[in-house]
């Protein structure tokens, strides 16, 4: 009886659907708040710029600068916040 109840997820009418993938969440966040301005380049170059942008975001938020989408960084991205970009473009 201790197994977790398997929840059924429902799409509620009128709900602004937000359950994105972590990558979508991170990319949207980095773009929206100015950490990543340049249009995405495909392949290795894109990974480098994302990592650099993640480090800038982690520095701004006082997080460990890992350059990857670790748990605390994703949690920070889900926190309520001000809409003014962190990096002026």
């Amino acid at each position: 009886w201790s197994a977790p109840v398997k929840s059924v997820f429902v799409t509620f009418p009128g709900d602004i659907v937000k359950n994105m993938t972590d990558t979508e969440l991170a990319e949207g966040y980095l773009k929206k708040f100015g950490y990543m301005n340049s249009p995405q380049r495909s392949g290795f170059q894109s990974m480098v710029s994302t990592s650099k942008a993640l480090k800038r975001m982690q520095r701004q938020m006082g997080l460990e600068e890992t350059g990857v989408m670790d748990k605390s960084t994703l949690e920070a991205m889900r926190r309520p916040r001000c809409g003014v970009p962190d990096v002026a473009n």
Partner: protein, 573 residues
């Protein structure tokens, strides 16, 4: 700290702001107060002053909006983006926008300010006990009129203190119906509505007609949100319906079942399975004061800080006892310098009285008028009797065209000439010997050349040097429940309005009696002014309602056209 490129800032020190619209989540007086306190965070540490405008264009225009609200940066529904603001400048620059899909509170759950009842506008006390049951929200239990109410102390049965909660059955806000309550059912575009609706609007705000037919009368107002109202979803503003059925199972409280984000929701009908009507349940909400203080930092020129404890850190976190962080202070003082005026806290008894005072005049000179014989009616100025240092007067009235300020046995006169100065203090007992030291209100019957003075439940009538009284105010026809007449407003044709508490009476001066049809509620006729003003008078064609250091000025069309400081605008300190 960081500033915006080019150190954008306001060149003027007296920054103006205007509140364009309101969220239905809180009483407008709580919203006004939150914004005023948020500005005070910055004026406390800089030479900046913030004056509120009620019309026209202000430096900082403050507004609530949802999703796409007209600028290039749409909001995103509940949570996520809470608000944003623009750096100083013209037009959109300097403005602050708040996401009205958020649940705005003071940060600790529903902030419910009551109206009417006997709690004088106090906040609801949750939980409260009523007939042995605990309530964490407003309730209509115990009433037959379906008006939600709450206790303003922990136990209604003991204290009997209560007030009514926001409800469209009690009032609306904005719109064009002067706050009148909704009329149900009402007809709109030929259809009948028996509750608030967002039909006809693209901004999602709930409204209702304040007559039975909007198509004919075009009278409407926005519905305040009840504390039990759901947020977002597709039934915003409606209360949860308990129990409700979801996926065949019955729920009698909010649940996160069915959601991947763990947010609590409820159905607003008895069956979500059938009706698919839902919304998110009220939570702690976001402190409008904290978010506003942050956004106003942007509007003054500060960018985001990377110090987690700083106000300008981009993420929201609730702080109970807020104080500005060093980093924020350094940033704002880098732009505007530090505060040069006196310490805002009044000098204590052991503070030397020679504190520098920003706007000195002859009454401040250390040796003052020393020779009483040369100023027969004024005595050497006792610093504690400097009118400019008073935060509140017993009464202010106009006698022979001059403003008179009464306080604790003394009074000052402000000549009506433009360059006339403040004269006094004079002694009340020397001029009107029969009067007590504290005068609650006074008015001049110019036709009969009589002066009426009120103190407590007594009044005096002076004709020149002769006096009639004290007599009880019951002789004028005021009820014995009136303990104090706080204001007197000449209305011409021998009529004077006498204010006390939330009510006013109309006195027929010649007949010395109160006209039929009174009392009336002050805020029903004089909307937009505090209903606990401690002074009301007429001066140069405007009506002034005073509370503490502030006055609300009303023009002849009964519109509040100015709010300011008694000290600067009336006393000219």
């Amino acid at each position: 700290y960081k500033t915006f490129d080019g150190d954008l800032k306001w060149d003027n020190r007296d920054v103006t702001y205007r509140v364009i619209n309101y969220t239905p989540d809180m009483d407008y007086s709580l919203i006004d107060d939150a914004f005023a306190r948020a500005f005070k965070v910055w004026s406390d540490v800089t030479p900046l002053t913030f004056t509120r405008l009620f019309d026209g264009t202000a430096d900082i225009m403050v507004s609530f909006g949802k999703a796409d609200h007209g600028d290039p940066y749409p909001f995103d529904g509940k949570d996520g983006l809470l608000a944003h603001a623009y750096p100083p400048g013209k037009g959109l620059q300097g403005d602050a926008h708040f996401d009205d899909d958020e649940y705005w509170t003071l940060g600790t759950g529903p902030a419910v300010k009551t109206r009417y009842g006997n709690a004088e506008g106090a906040m609801c006390h949750f939980p409260f006990t009523f007939e042995g049951k605990d309530y964490t929200t407003c309730t209509t239990n115990g009433r037959s009129d379906n008006l939600p109410w709450c206790a303003t102390t922990a136990d209604y049965s003991i204290d009997k203190k209560y007030g009514f909660c926001p409800s469209e059955l009690l009032y609306t806000f904005d719109g064009n119906a002067d706050g009148a309550e909704c009329v149900f059912p009402f007809v709109f575009l030929g259809e009948e509505y028996d509750s608030c609706t967002t039909e006809g609007r693209s901004d999602g705000y709930r409204w209702c007609a304040t007559t039975s037919n909007f198509d004919n009368d075009m009278k409407y107002g926005f519905c305040p949100s009840r504390d039990t109202a759901v947020i977002g979803g597709n039934a915003e503003g409606e209360p949860c319906h308990f129990p409700f059925v979801f996926l065949g199972k019955e729920y009698d409280s909010c649940t996160s079942e069915g959601r991947a984000d763990g947010k609590l929701w409820c159905s607003t009908t008895d069956s979500y399975d059938d009706d698919k009507k839902w919304g998110l349940c009220p939570d702690q909400g976001y402190s409008l004061f904290l978010v506003a203080a942050h956004e106003f930092g942007h509007a003054l020129g500060l960018d985001h800080s990377n110090i987690r404890e700083a106000l300008m850190y981009p993420m929201y976190s609730y702080v109970k006892d807020f104080s500005l962080h060093e980093d924020d202070i350094e940033g704002i003082q880098y732009l505007y310098g530090s505060k040069t005026g006196p310490d805002p806290t009044p000098p204590g008894p052991n503070t030397p009285t020679t504190t520098t005072y920003p706007d000195t005049d002859e009454t401040d000179s250390p040796d003052g008028p020393t020779d009483p014989t040369t100023t027969a009616t004024t005595r050497p100025v006792d610093p504690t009797k400097d009118a400019c240092k008073m935060t509140k007067f017993d009464t202010i009235t106009v006698i022979e065209g001059q403003l008179h300020f009464f306080k604790d046995g003394d009074y000052w006169k402000m000549s009506s000439e433009s360059n006339g100065g403040l004269k006094g203090p004079f002694s009340i007992s020397e001029t009107w010997p029969a009067l007590p030291a504290v005068i609650d209100s006074a008015f001049e019957n110019t036709l009969a050349r009589k002066l009426y003075f009120f103190s407590g439940t007594r009044f005096w009538v002076y004709t020149g040097k002769s006096v009639l009284g004290p007599r009880s105010i019951e002789k004028l026809g005021l009820p014995d429940s009136v303990q104090k007449v706080e204001g007197a407003l000449q209305r011409g044709k021998g009529k004077v309005l006498l204010f006390s508490g939330e009510n006013y009476w109309r006195l027929d001066v010649k007949a010395q009696k109160i006209d039929r049809g009174y009392p009336k509620y002050t805020d029903a006729v004089f909307g937009g002014v505090p209903n606990d003003a401690h002074d009301v008078f007429q001066y140069k064609g405007h009506i002034y309602f005073c509370r503490d250091r502030f006055y609300w000025r009303m023009n002849s069309r009964r519109q509040v056209d100015r709010v300011g400081y008694v000290k600067y605008d009336l006393l000219k300190c």
